[in-house]
């Protein structure tokens, strides 16, 4: 993988959710990621799966009575305002990465976009971070 561009980031669902919800371990991840979003010089990317991950989060939260409809609407309002550029990923590259690094196709879509954009992947999901490190250390 070529050298990463310092102001380009691919954000996954765990990273974005940590800026809105409480952390079980009271970590500072949410604050750090909020600062990345706040800096206008930073370009933020997501694969299109993010829409469905968030949709599923809202659907299950509503079904479980953890969220009300006005709260779900407020979440969507934030999502639509986030300065994210959403991309379709290359299906061949994504499949190749999913097989090579033994990840789900969903996770591989984040790896694929990071690869395409030379962008740092921001995630709090340990499996995804591990896979991203592997891609960086063992490209092609």
């Amino acid at each position: 993988m070529p050298e990463l561009l310092t102001n380009q980031y691919v954000l996954d669902a765990s990273a974005l959710l940590s800026t809105l919800y409480k952390d079980e371990r009271e970590s500072k991840h949410g604050q750090i990621i909020t600062a990345i979003i706040k800096n206008p010089k930073n370009r933020l990317f997501c694969p299109s799966i993010i829409r469905y991950e968030f949709g599923n989060n809202l659907r299950t939260s509503l079904k479980n009575g953890r969220l009300s409809f006005p709260e779900a609407k407020a979440f969507i309002k934030v999502f639509l305002k986030w300065p994210l550029k959403i991309f379709e990923v290359d299906l061949h590259t994504t499949l190749h990465l999913a097989i090579k690094y033994n990840t789900t196709y969903y996770d591989a879509s984040y790896l694929s976009l990071s690869y395409a954009k030379n962008a740092q992947l921001i995630s709090i999901d340990k499996n995804l971070i591990r896979a991203f490190s592997s891609v960086q250390n063992n490209p092609s």
């Binding site: 959710l17 940590s18 919800y21 952390d23 706040k38 991950e53 479980n64 407020a74 934030v78 300065p83």
Partner: protein, 57 residues
């Protein structure tokens, strides 16, 4: 009847928001949502929300 063109300077001028202003606004919205969740008796954690996001059943 002839259409009368208004000079460009008249009427409400639209001011374009800078990227920094847009980011500030979204941070404010995020904070409002965060506070709304924290007011709950049992606030949702990002770990719970992420579990919901990644369960494709």
């Amino acid at each position: 009847m002839k259409n009368i063109k208004r000079p460009k300077t008249q009427g409400k001028q639209k001011t374009k928001k800078t990227e920094a202003q847009k980011r500030k606004e979204v941070i404010k919205l995020m904070e409002e949502f965060r506070q709304m969740n924290l007011k709950k008796e049992n606030p949702i954690t990002w770990q719970e929300a992420y579990r919901y996001a990644r369960t494709f059943d």
